[in-house]
């Protein structure tokens, strides 16, 4: 079984919600990333979403845009991200890691070449913001052959019929975007998420559903988590990466994640 599948099975058996944490690879400097990933795990993250920097992140709000710009100032490439991933894997065999980014860097490396290198580096899946399922066939098959997941997104504007189609095309988990807008723009609204999630979870047919966008801290995580299989925290962590001295990042992240973990459990 895949690392992602195993993790969700364990969480379900323990009756716990998944805490998925996002940071941008190479932010604020390349050498900060691997220690930051270990800190996320120590703080209680179940999954890591590692952002692949891209020059034109059209779905990101200002906080994550700034994180991506900090990484790009050091010319961090997809190949560099895979190297960071290998380094992380040499000390952590268990925590699932999903790369999150925009299509062009993956396309440029080539789906086959990327999948081979990613599998060797211990990547468990990818989320590509601007790759809806209709365009995803080739990439998904290349990932599947190497045992990696293509995680797809469902939005508040997605019809129920389409949500079922998306769930059938994706694997690993289903990422529900809590509001219409860019990352970090506002708080997730528990009532509207709850209303929609009943529908989306039915459409998911057992695929775990994680909610992201607008979950910043323990309180907002605890508000949303009862309606889903887990939550994703991104902008709040990237904010910390941006305003903390590099040496202090691991401790700050660990404490921040721990607060969210405790609120969830």
């Amino acid at each position: 079984m895949s690392r992602l599948g195993q993790r969700f099975e364990t969480l379900a058996a323990d009756g716990r919600k998944a805490l998925n944490t996002y940071i941008v690879a190479g932010d604020p400097v390349p050498e900060a990333t691997v220690p930051a990933m270990h800190a996320l795990v120590r703080g209680g993250a179940d999954l890591i979403e590692l952002g692949v920097p891209f020059s034109d992140p059209e779905a990101e709000g200002p906080t994550i845009q700034a994180g991506i710009e900090r990484a790009l100032a050091h010319d961090v490439t997809l190949a560099d991200v895979l190297d960071m991933m290998s380094a992380f894997r040499s000390d952590d065999r268990d925590t699932p890691v999903v790369l999150m980014g925009y299509l062009n860097p993956f396309l440029r490396m080539g789906y086959e070449a990327f999948c081979k290198r990613a599998a060797d580096a211990g990547v468990d899946g990818v989320i590509v913001v601007n790759l809806p399922p209709e365009e995803a066939g080739t990439f998904r098959n290349a990932l599947c052959v190497r045992g990696m997941d293509l995680v797809l997104l469902v939005a508040p504007t997605t019809t129920s019929e389409r949500a079922a189609y998306i769930a059938g095309q994706g694997s690993g988990f289903l990422y529900y975007v809590s509001y219409k807008g860019v990352t970090g723009a506002r708080r997730a609204d528990a009532a509207s998420v709850a209303k929609r999630l009943t529908d989306v979870r039915a459409a998911a047919r057992g695929l775990p559903v994680l909610v992201g966008f607008g979950i910043k801290d323990g309180a907002s995580a605890a508000n949303i988590a009862p309606h889903a299989d887990g939550v994703v925290v991104g902008s709040a962590l990237v904010e910390t990466m941006g305003c903390t001295a590099v040496a202090g990042i691991p401790d700050s992240l660990q404490a921040q994640v721990r607060e969210i973990r405790d609120a969830l459990d």
Partner: protein
């Protein structure tokens, strides 16, 4: 290519593909709006009432048809083929952009949207969007890179006079591509009440198709006008290509006319060898940006490259997917001219014909001058004069060291 066996050209496919190019590479939140727009457009593009209303708008509000003007002194200057100018600069608001915004605003009204957004480079598309928003009483916000705001200040003020809000974009290269990122972010946030008027034959399906169709009035008129004036079709069509809407608008109605050569002129900036240019069809590779698969200027790791052109409207790292398709098919040829060549052509057209072209359009004029000189006098070269150059007076004056 398919045309050799006389199969009429037809693109895109139902899923928005022009060969390998095009498609719909956007965040899931936008798929519903794109589906809605696709469905609406499919119904109105066959609706005689809609088409009649659009034709009336183009006539009474935009001022169409625009003339096809035989430029005798320019022809004499080049010393070869006869040069005709399709005078899109004479449209209301001074460029071809309004052909598209009038059409899309009618679609927005049918969808019950109360707010329009747009990206703009030179400001012509922003002005054209602000104009139709004013006419229909819709709220309007135009995203514009802060570098472009500095070099196109006249259009910025014009948009404000029209009641639009101009939102400066300070991210990335602070030009057209960054304005488009920000417009996509706005759209994803306000998709319920907002229609995004993309200004070129770019973006996710159905935009490349519907913008092309709205701009195809240029080529349809030019084709009839050339037949009326000369009794035959032109030998060569020339247009500048940034995103490529004025070019595709001129070219598309001629796609099945095999004797007509088609040339798109990209922005060569300071020269292709310097890397400071905006010529993706020339010097780029296929990739995905702003919703479609097309030729892009990107580095070896897939990051979108900085571009450079003297003309803000051509300063864009991508190009409409149908142009990418035509390049691969060989139906059109894509070339480039430098900033300096475009500037020289700007001056020549002013002084031979009393016409001030936009710096964008000056690229097409520059290449046409060069090519006409190589062709016999009986050849006809038809150039799309996509916009007028008043907005560029500050830029040119600055180069001349004059403060206006």
């Amino acid at each position: 290519m398919p045309r050799s066996n006389r199969v009429p050209y037809e693109a895109p496919t139902q899923d928005g593909r022009f060969g390998d190019y095009g498609g719909r590479f956007v965040a899931e939140t936008l798929i519903h709006a794109l589906d809605e727009l696709t469905r609406l457009y499919a119904s109105v593009s066959r609706d005689p009432d809609f088409l009649a209303a659009l034709a009336q708008e183009l006539k009474d509000y935009v001022g169409r048809p625009t003339p096809l003007y035989r430029a005798d002194r320019l022809t004499e200057h080049a010393g070869g083929a006869r040069i005709y100018l399709k005078r899109e600069d004479l449209n209301h608001t001074g460029a071809h952009k309004i052909n598209n915004t009038v059409g899309q605003a009618m679609l927005a009204s049918r969808m019950g949207k109360t707010r329009l957004i747009a990206e703009t480079g030179a400001g012509q598309h922003g002005v054209a969007t602000a104009t139709v928003a004013a006419r229909l009483g819709l709220e309007c916000r135009v995203y514009m890179g802060s570098e472009d705001i500095a070099r196109q200040s006249i259009n910025v003020y014009r948009m404000k006079l029209l009641g639009a809000e101009v939102a400066p974009v300070a991210a990335g290269s602070r030009t057209l591509k960054d304005a488009m990122n920000e417009a996509m972010r706005d759209w994803v946030t306000n998709v319920d009440n907002t229609h995004y008027i993309i200004g070129s034959v770019a973006g996710p399906h159905p935009y490349p198709m519907l913008v092309r169709d709205f701009q195809a009035v240029i080529g349809a008129e030019a084709r009839d006008q050339c037949l009326a004036a000369e009794g035959r079709l032109p030998d060569l069509l020339v247009a500048c290509v940034g995103g490529g809407s004025n070019a595709m608008g001129l070219f598309h109605p001629f796609v099945d006319d095999e004797g007509v050569d088609i040339v798109g002129v990209e922005a060569g900036g300071e020269g292709l060898a310097t890397g400071r240019h905006a010529a993706p069809l020339h010097a780029g590779t296929p990739g995905v940006l702003h919703g479609s698969h097309t030729y892009l200027m990107a580095d070896s790791s897939g990051q979108i490259a900085q571009t450079h052109s003297i003309s803000a409207g051509l300063d864009y790292p991508g190009v409409g997917p149908e142009h990418a398709y035509w390049k691969d098919l060989g139906r059109a040829r894509y070339t480039s001219v430098t900033d300096d060549e475009a500037l020289a052509a700007f001056r020549v057209l002013n002084q031979t014909e009393g016409i001030m072209p936009a710096l964008e359009s000056s690229h097409a004029v520059a290449w046409a001058l060069r090519e006409a000189a190589r062709r016999p006098p009986e050849d006809i070269v038809l150039v799309n004069l996509s916009g007028r150059g008043d907005k560029d007076i500050h830029t040119v004056a600055g180069i001349d060291g004059i403060e206006v």
